[in-house]
């Protein structure tokens, strides 16, 4: 086993140990098919938002608007439902808003040279203002069509629908990043923007596209979350922000060059997801949960060093 492999396996080993630990602590509850089903469902939105973050971090930028985009998309969708619009109109409209918002981020960053942290936070704040205004600051849960609920609930062949979304979205993202010209270009831009420009890459276009895709994915995550919950609050997407980036960064520690990867991100999502789920099942006190959360993440990213050449 090469050093690279050992490194990569470090964080994975931590994850496996975590699962084994919970299986021992709560054999019937944690390791049950029902709980695995739950876990998949619970991780789906975070996994998709974290994928958006992975794409943006591949070009060495940040997108802090993902949570806000998710909220706004969900609000728009439910407001349209409230006005009697159909799923086939409301869902594409909501996704479009996410894509357009993301593209606007890209324009601010690539064309106007605003640091992505400021640009996306400012634009995210604007989006959250719209979400607030449109929802009137209230929880929306009326007149949700059954077709919409089906997007993020239930199962097909015993596998939760949200599981298919994870596989679909992350699979495509991984394919794009590792196998296509576009993915190659994003890595180049993230690695050395100046060199990428001089090598003739269409940087402005690619950066805008990346942010647009991220916005679209965030919107999708918001819709799936809304479908799963059956209700929408105008701040519902915001708690996704930090965990999404945490997942990406945990994932980078599993990559030999420290670059973000979809697989690494999924591992990061899985670690955080399993941790919270397991601790709830075992019944850990809330404040102890927080302490353990931090400790487990640190241990997970430190384990890889065991397999590291000095």
């Amino acid at each position: 086993m090469t050093r690279t492999n050992l490194n990569r396996f470090g964080t994975l080993i931590a994850f496996v140990l975590l699962c084994i630990g919970f299986s021992i602590a709560a054999p019937t509850a944690f390791a049950s098919p029902g709980n695995v089903f739950n876990l998949v469902q619970q991780m789906a939105t975070l996994a998709i938002v974290a994928t958006a973050a992975t794409l943006v971090m591949t070009i060495s930028e940040f997108d802090l608007s993902v949570g806000f985009s998710a909220s706004l998309a969900a609000v728009i969708c439910f407001v349209l439902f409230g006005q009697g619009y159909d799923v086939w109109l409301a869902v594409p409209a909501a996704l479009l808003v996410g894509i357009v918002g993301g593209a606007a981020n890209g324009v601010l960053v690539a064309r106007f040279g605003i640091p992505s942290f400021v640009a996306t936070l400012a634009l995210g704040t604007i989006l959250s203002g719209f979400a607030f205004g449109l929802s009137g600051g209230q929880s929306l849960f009326q007149s949700v069509p059954e077709a919409f609920k089906a997007l993020g609930r239930g199962e097909i062949l015993g596998i939760p629908v949200l599981g298919f979304w994870i596989v679909g979205v992350l699979g495509v993202a991984a394919f794009v990043l590792t196998q296509t010209e576009f993915g190659r270009r994003l890595k180049a831009i993230g690695g050395n923007a100046q060199a990428a420009r001089l090598a003739g890459l269409p940087i402005v276009r690619d950066v805008i596209a990346t942010f647009a895709i991220a916005g679209g994915l965030a919107a999708l995550a918001g819709l799936l979350l809304a479908s799963r919950l059956g209700s929408v609050q105008h701040t519902m997407g915001e708690p996704l922000l930090l965990p999404a980036y945490a997942a990406v960064f945990i994932g980078t520690t599993a990559s030999p060059t420290g670059a973000p990867t979809v697989a690494g991100t999924l591992l990061g999502v899985a670690i955080t997801g399993v941790m919270v789920n397991g601790m709830t099942i075992v019944g850990v006190e809330p404040f102890v949960q927080r302490i353990l959360t931090g400790v487990i993440i640190l241990v997970a990213v430190l384990v890889r060093r065991v397999g590291r050449a000095k």
Binding site: E181, F182, K187, A188, N192, A195, R197, A199, L201, T257
Partner: protein, 495 residues
């Protein structure tokens, strides 16, 4: 004073250094030469405390030392310019020169006046026009090299180590530097100099060692330091100077008419024929890179250009590529390489869409990429271990070859080369020169900016000499000579 015994350093399967023994006496000026990837930079990093050997011992004045960091080596009086030494981009020259040094202080504050006084004196000798107060990120590449030189020389130590300090400096600029270096030598400072310009070594060093595949294969004492002998020890032979003349009846490929942009402040007039190599020569900062960048579409420019008779207005490198133009940019770390990506990635990136397995489907065919990389690597005699190794792990000269390899097997109407042989060893230099000539011979135009005056004379069918942001004279091969080029590049008064 310095004694190295049994130094070895491995990177995975690569033996960068194997059982190197080297002794340097007080005041000795040692040339360290060897082909790309021989282990020169690795050895220097070890002496400078920037890397640690796997085995072996370093002694200074007979006492064994263990450098835990570059600071320890600094404290022992060792001063270094590493190859491609990074600078702090937001710092100006003064601050970069003082990095890692004790700052002069007044009333608890850092005393900039004293800093300036110390640096300006040396700067006046090496680079009189260098602005010491501009963040180096805003300085042209050549001037950043002056900053590195200043940094090493301004702070006096016992041992000065220079890893290819003049690789991208024109002869005239290099001469000013060696002038200062001579004074340093006279003060009794020991010096280790790495260079692929063997004449420099022969002229400046009292002794030399040749490193090859991580081992010292030859040592030359006083009076024995001769370029031919060193080349022979490296396992190569010197190249010939070609004697072709421009075929002025050949069609014009690229015509440049009153172009300004970047450092190119005076309208440039230039036309290159099919089959012609146009060398661009001048002092650092004279505007050569800016002309190439304008043709490449990388900087905003004004004027007009024609490519094979048709209007050519590149707004980005992308436009240029689409019209059959290729470019090897200067400053490989900043403008060329993706250091944490592998070699194939670096090679195929600009023309990625030509590797599709299925037309219309933007998915590169990895087998095709690999095959083409292998061909190109062979062509530029790249020495590497594995196509999947990271570009960062190549030696400096091999990194340069890697960038060159991008275009090595493309049919380019116009080839733009900015310091294509920077840091490349003598053998590979002649290979690259052959490739350049072959590209031109295919009926294409080549514009090559080089700081190596001999290379300009050797390569150029004509030589355009730049001075202070404009072309001062275009020499035909018959008119050109080292003296004439220098005179034009440095001429004062009306251009």
């Amino acid at each position: 004073m310095l004694d190295l015994t049994g130094i070895s350093r491995r990177f995975g399967a690569t033996h960068a250094l194997e059982d190197v023994n080297l002794a340097l006496s007080e005041g000795e000026v040692l040339g360290l030469v060897g082909p790309n990837g021989a282990g020169k930079s690795t050895l220097i990093k070890i002496i400078a405390g920037a890397d640690r050997p796997d085995a072996g011992e370093i002694r200074i004045d007979g006492r064994a030392v263990h450098f835990a960091s570059a600071h320890d080596a600094y404290a022992a009086g060792i001063r270094v310019i590493h190859q491609d030494a990074p600078l702090v981009p937001g710092f100006d020259t003064l601050e970069n020169c003082y990095l890692g040094r004790e700052y002069p202080r007044r009333f608890g504050r850092i005393d900039r006046k004293a800093m300036r006084a110390a640096i300006a004196e040396v700067a006046a000798d090496i680079a009189p026009e260098l602005d010491l107060d501009v963040p180096v990120m805003f300085l042209p590449q050549a001037e950043r090299q002056f900053v590195r030189l200043l940094r090493a020389i301004a702070d006096k130590g016992r041992l000065l180590i220079l890893d290819e300090p003049t690789a991208a400096l024109p002869a005239e600029d290099a001469e000013r530097f060696y002038e200062v270096l001579r004074r340093t030598r006279e003060r009794g400072t020991s010096i280790i100099l790495v260079s692929h310009r063997l004449e420099e070594i022969a002229e400046f060093c009292s002794s030399a060692v040749v490193l090859r595949d991580g081992r010292i294969v030859a040592r030359f004492g006083a009076g024995e330091v001769k370029p031919e002998a060193m080349i022979a020890a490296m396992g190569g032979s010197a190249s010939e100077r070609s004697t072709r003349a421009t075929d002025t009846s050949a069609p014009l490929i690229i015509e440049i008419d009153g172009v300004t942009g970047g450092d190119l402040t005076r309208p440039a007039q230039l036309a290159v024929h099919a089959g012609e190599v146009m060398a661009l020569y001048g002092l650092a900062g004279s505007g050569r890179s800016s002309l190439l960048n304008a043709i490449w579409g990388a900087i905003p420019w004004a004027g007009s250009m024609r490519l094979t008779g048709e209007v050519y207005r590149p707004k980005s490198p992308r436009d240029a590529i689409a019209r059959g133009v290729s470019c090897v940019p200067a400053d490989r770390h900043r403008s060329g390489l993706f250091l944490v990506e592998d070699l194939i990635f670096n090679k195929t990136l600009p023309l990625l869409s030509t590797y599709r397995r299925m037309r219309g489907l933007p998915v590169p065919d990895r087998t095709a990429e690999r095959a083409e990389f292998l061909v190109a690597a062979e062509r530029v005699s790249l020495s590497y271990r594995d196509p999947k190794q990271l570009a960062r792990t190549l030696s400096g000269g091999n990194q340069q070859k890697l960038i060159f390899s991008r275009w090595a097997n493309r049919h380019s109407r116009v080839m733009l080369l900015d310091e294509p042989t920077e840091g490349v060893d003598v053998m590979a230099k002649s290979t690259i020169k052959d490739i350049i000539r072959a590209i031109a011979a295919d009926g294409n135009a080549v514009l090559v900016s080089t700081s190596d005056r001999d290379e300009a004379l050797e390569l150029g069918d004509r030589i355009a000499v730049f001075r202070q942001g404009g072309i001062v004279r275009i020499f035909s091969r018959a008119e050109a000579s080292a003296e004439a080029l220098s005179a034009a590049a440095q001429s004062r008064g009306a251009a």
